[in-house]
């Protein structure tokens, strides 16, 4: 289990991370969210032992993270951390050896992963000659070459087409099934919703939201109703508890205060010819925008 306990980090007088705590258990995918400059990269760097926390402690399976435990950690950085003059094989060998792996083991696993991602023919090619998407695949392979126990993914889907996003997701779920702890960071909230059971939302280094995703959505209370039919926007806006009505093409999106408002909206809608009436919880994107907006 990864345990981040009351961690605080200052850069001079600037408070980058304030009293952050969370846990990631085996086989769990954890979302670390935040706007730009929220302290995500600092948190990753502290987990990776690149920075020392000023206060608090980070442990993996009860032990402080050192260079030996780092051999079982994989890190995919937001920017491409590849030495582009190297070939794919040289690059993966280089990072694999730094993870303490034997050369033959690295090459065997590299072949498997290149095959799985459909880029086996690029093995001897220089990284700088590859497309952005293929470079991202190489970076992902370098992060998982050691079958990590803890995997940190910072914006893993950058530059990928939907087919390759699917391949990445399959690999991430495969690692989860094998018990890998995964910390996932992305600005695309739909990815977080797909992957993460638990999350933390940071704003200016402070935690503004944390816990299980389903609990967060439940506590948030606000919901959305998607309606297609003859009811007018003005009539819906008059219903008490309706916060906002937005017309998108032939559909109206009605944001309501909580689930008690659903019945009142339905009473108005049923007077008209209605083809669609779907109630959904608020999206993580809405929660993110509201929570971050409150603090900024």
């Amino acid at each position: 289990m990864l345990k981040v306990a009351e961690v605080t980090k200052y850069y001079g007088d600037f408070l980058a991370v304030d009293n952050l705590s969370f846990e990631v258990k085996e086989g769990e995918i954890f979302g670390l969210l935040g706007a730009n400059g929220a302290g995500k990269t600092t948190t990753f760097r502290m987990i990776m032992s690149l920075l020392e926390p000023d206060h608090g402690e980070i442990t993996l399976d009860g032990k402080k993270i050192d260079y030996d435990t780092m051999e079982k950690v994989g890190f995919l950085t937001e920017e491409r951390s590849l030495l582009t003059k190297m070939t794919v094989e040289e690059q993966i060998l280089y990072y694999g050896r730094l993870k303490g792996m034997a050369e033959d083991v690295i090459l065997k696993r590299l072949d498997e992963l290149l095959e799985r991602f459909g880029i086996w023919s690029y093995k001897k090619r220089k990284i700088k000659e590859l497309s952005k998407g293929n470079q991202q695949k190489i970076q992902f392979i370098s992060a998982i070459i050691n079958e990590p126990k803890l995997l940190i993914l910072d914006e893993p889907f950058t530059g990928l087409d939907p087919i390759n996003v699917k391949k990445f997701k399959e690999e991430i779920f495969r690692l989860k099934e094998k018990g890998c702890m995964i910390i996932f960071s992305s600005h695309q909230m739909e990815h977080i919703e797909q992957f993460c059971e638990k999350l933390v939302l940071l704003v200016k280094g402070k935690v503004v939201l944390s816990g299980y995703l389903k609990d967060i959505k439940k506590e948030y209370q606000k919901m959305n109703i998607f309606i297609q039919g003859g009811v007018s926007k003005e009539e819906l806006e008059k219903v008490p508890g309706v916060l906002k009505v937005v017309q998108v093409a032939d559909e109206k999106q009605v944001k309501i205060q909580d689930e008690s408002v659903i019945g009142d909206v339905f009473k108005v809608v049923k007077k008209y010819d209605t083809r669609k009436f779907v109630v959904e919880e608020a999206s993580l994107n809405e929660i993110f925008i509201e929570k971050v907006g409150e603090v900024l």
Binding site: S49, F75, S81, L82, L83, T84, K85, R97, L98
Partner: protein, 440 residues
Amino acid sequence: MSSKFWYLTGESFKKKVRSKWFLIANIVLFVALLAVVNIDRIISYFGGDFSSQKEVMVLDQTGYAYETFRSNLDNIQSLLDIDYDMNITKREENVDALKEEISGTDTILIVLSSSDTAYLKASVISDSYIDTSFYQYLYQALSTTKMDIALSISNIDLEEYQKVTSDMEVERILLNEAQTSEEELMNTVMGVVFPTVILPFFILVIFLVQMIGSEINEEKASRSMEIIISNVSPKVHFFSKLVSSNAFVLLQAFLLIVYGAIALFLRSITGGSSLTGVVGESMGSIFTTLSDAGILSRLGIIIPLTLILLVLSFLAYSLVAGVLASMTVSMEDFQQIQTPIILICLLSYYLAIMSGMFQGSIVIRVLSYVPFLSCLLSPALLITNQITILDTVISIVILAIFNWAFLKYGLKIYKVGILNYSTDKMWHKIFRAAKKKGSL
């Protein structure tokens, strides 16, 4: 961690050696050394048609100078051990007719005429430029001819003339006999030390500084530094760069020696003289001088001390270059910041040259203790007997202490620097990192 250190060091070393720039630089160095050592052969080989027959016409308007001039041409050839294939013809025609005749040819026309003020005047007329060495040869013969004519007219015999024109004889007497040996020794030794030790050292320092800077910058710019540093400590990473770069420089130094030896060997087999003969000619005189001055016996300690200073200095330069490179965020920044390092090395180079002109200078002696300057200055002063072995030992101790201190504080800066991607408050970050307590 030890295996990761050797892996990083090996990879860094291999990367440098396998680089196409290493190959290109070494081909250029080899060809340049070959050319320098065999420059006279190359000039002779490509030097144009000076081996072909020279056609020279002489129009003697004085009526008495031709025979003397002809005889002097032969004498000078014999004196200078040169052998021009030359066809000289005495002509009687009009100057303009002869000018027309040589037009468009390689033939040279020499017109000798008398002069009231200078005994003899000459015109050398050709269609195009004359080979410089051949012109010098003609000029020498004409000058000697003029002198012969002047002596004859003035009724002065050659012996008398030589007495008048001979150099002033000054006998220099130094009561301290050792001084004459030292002066001779200094000139001889400095003439050899600079091209064989100081210049290569200067080139290698530039190599070293640029290599460390570019490698660290590449890893920083690509953000692969974060992956590397999460798996090995900054200390291991830094030492791997130091060891691989210094090993590379030593390899390059060795290759320079090999290229020099090959160039000398080629010279010996193409010129007929043996390798030992070529080297021995210059080295023999140095060893004789050193031996006469009693320095040869000290070389057993001078050479190891110099080598220690050079190795410690390579380390000092690479330490500084590595720490500075860690603080920069782009190769352009590093290129700017490396300029002072190169200038310091250059200062050391000039001070070593100037030490011969300002013997006994207290400033130069004090500067020989200063790290970065001591590498060239201290051995130069020691070899020329301006400082003692103890002074060089002091320079080594100061340099070792500097390296230790710079390593201690520089590593802290390096740890912060390699993950720093902003130039904001850079000096503040450097000082704060240096003051920070804790392990690496």
